[in-house]
Homo-oligomer: 402 residues x 2
């Protein structure tokens, strides 16, 4: 039978890279591809204790819960976000299945086919997929290491009247970039001027390597809490398997998203939400994040030192100040999708940059994750990658040059 | 700010009934409204043990999982469904956040605005909401106690070329109805003839009161596994808080739904899925379901005996053979939405039938849940409801007559 799919599935892209990466997970390949946290740091004992508390609280903990999510956890989040300057009542918070669901539900309530979304370029791959799946017109805004280009942004806001601007301003995926406070203020000013919502995706904000700078979330600058939706997650700082993220913003939008969530899944796992509540109540989350910052910084440094050691001028990157990724640009004749095959043969993997782009991709880019592997594995994997990259430099690997 | 929502949110309906019901949850009102299982029967000790096993399996249990869901649980489901005659490989199964998400993802990949879906009438409220949110044209098919009317069904299949037919053939929500095997076969024959997919929603199939009859799932009749999507859930038989459902069907459709799920939330809680796997491996689920059948049958009987005792001919219902609901029809001048307010004043609640209808609702219907309350509470609540209904009969409560 030929199945009569909806028009929107034409926008689903089967990713050759994803297929390749899923295959290599089985072999002896060191992967810098996935955006995974390091497993040894998962506070498994504390998570287990938290579940024990849920079960000790009685059988009603196993009943259906609220679409909006477990209230004590939302109240905790309301307090916790205050320390970042974000004012938000528990009623203005929706718990989601990871922050991915927050992106999806927001897009679902905002976007009709053809509506415009402004984004950075490159930007988070799975956000692009969501926007495409709702048939949005995704328009990239020019940018540099400090954020979106002010002129291009204003011109596009004015001319295209986007439904929203999607940004990952703090230690972005894939670039590991952080916006300057000036650019943040400027974006917000334009949002007020043109009455456009901002969707601030902040999964990595806590993983800041050095504390010499303060990056204010856009949501904290939005004093009336009228123009910024803010999403984050416990996946990077606690554990991913709990799949618990949250989103906060104007009540009217959160209400609409809750109605969409009722359609989507009634509610996320309330057992996980309850366990997280007991966990954050008892656990030294701040100290845990402090440890992650130190460890992940160390790993980033090891990886970066290898990149520095490769004797060529055709590799460039900006040192990330936080997050989980190193974004590398190679000689502009290189196609990293083809380079990946060569790398896998040599026992190392990364994600080619192309799928992170809206429109014409920069084919000579790649993303390296430094959080998932031990320092030893990073060294071994970077040895292998360095070999591939130096061969490339010597020009003996013709198939990878486009 | 006026938020520029997508066109599809115009289809979101804020439900006055839902608001009312959420308020009464706080008072001394006995509620037969929600479709909740009985908490005392939750196997909390076994669930806790299952989680202990997950944690004992190591830290990788807390890492990101597959979009399709935890493979050992899918394999277990593949075996388990065989006992119902449903052939399905693990690869053809997608784990979801409750079966609600299965309905949502399937609709998302099938429906463009204006596409036709055929349904029973009345049918599952939250399925209607999903279909509306994707701007489907929902067309009800005439039916009786045995299922959809064969002629009306064929006429509408032929004329309207629906994208799919949505059915809850076994102990439906809200009617508690079960389709005859003849009607099932007939629906499937038409699906082949007109090349239309069937979406079989089966959350209640296991809760069959007497074992004197066998109702074959449509998916088991679909030998080539080409035309029937089948979804079910652990929410009614184990516990709801784990939010784990599944859907199976043709690989091509399941693949497309997995791509949609990647957008929607990357994956559901893998901790819950792993715990469920350990639970079903060890736990006497069959015996547990057997106990539920006996207990829920007893409660249904108590509730039904009260209905029988009300001295009037203007109350009618069909005795359910399974499931969680009694569907009651009153004198046709009664509007149960208004009756609900009267009932709540008397300390008892139900769901008015109207929101379960597509198109013109039958306002004189209501749904009673008999699984969530103890026999004692059922007696007390039905005493209160009987009082309201007899007053109604005597005609002294004019505001509730439309």
């Amino acid at each position: 039978m030929r199945y009569p799919f909806a028009d929107r599935v034409k926008m689903f892209k089967s990713s050759a890279v994803r297929e390749l990466l899923s295959i290599i997970q089985q072999g002896d390949v060191i992967s810098f591809a996935g955006g995974l946290p390091f497993e040894d740091y998962f506070p498994i004992g504390e998570v287990e204790k938290a579940y024990q508390k849920v079960f000790a609280s009685g059988k009603s903990s196993l009943q259906y819960g609220l679409t909006e999510g477990y209230l004590p956890l939302r109240s905790w989040l309301s307090d916790s976000m205050k320390t970042k300057g974000i004012e938000s009542k528990a009623d203005n918070i929706l718990l989601t299945t990871g922050s991915q669901q927050a992106i999806d539900l927001f897009t679902r309530v905002m976007i009709s086919p053809g509506d415009v979304i402004l984004t950075e370029n490159p930007t988070y791959l799975a956000a692009i997929q969501v926007f495409q799946s709702f048939e949005a017109q995704i328009v990239p805004v020019d940018g540099d290491k400090d954020g979106m280009d002010p002129e291009d942004l204003e011109q596009k806001m004015k001319k295209l009247r986007p439904k929203f601007v999607y940004v990952v301003p703090t230690f972005s995926n894939p670039e590991g970039k952080v916006w300057s406070n000036e650019r943040r203020e400027h974006l917000l000013k334009l949002a007020y001027k043109y009455n456009v919502l901002i969707f601030e995706d902040d999964p990595y904000g806590e993983i800041q390597f050095k504390q010499d700078q303060t990056y204010t979330p856009l949501a904290a600058m939005d004093e009336g809490r009228t123009h910024v939706m803010y999403t984050s997650t416990f996946s990077k700082t606690v554990v991913p398997a709990l799949r618990t993220g949250w989103v906060t913003g104007p009540y009217q939008v959160i209400r609409m998203m809750a109605q969409a969530k009722q359609c989507a899944d009634l509610h996320s796992s309330s057992l996980d939400q309850q366990a997280l509540y007991y966990l954050v109540e008892d656990f030294d989350l701040k100290g845990h994040i402090e440890m992650l910052r130190v460890e992940y910084y160390q790993r980033m440094t090891i990886m970066q030192d290898y990149l520095k050691s490769i004797p060529t001028s055709s590799i460039s990157w900006v040192e990330p100040q936080g997050g989980m990724f190193l974004w590398v640009t190679l000689d502009e004749q290189v196609d990293t999708t083809q380079l990946l095959m060569e790398a896998v043969k040599n026992g190392v993997a990364f994600v080619p940059g192309a799928p992170f782009y809206v429109g014409n991709p920069q084919l000579n880019t790649l993303r390296l994750n430094f959080t998932h592997s031990t320092p030893e594995k990073i060294k071994l994997g970077m040895d292998r990658l360095a070999l591939v990259l130096s061969k490339l430099q010597s020009g003996t690997e013709s198939p990878i040059i486009v």
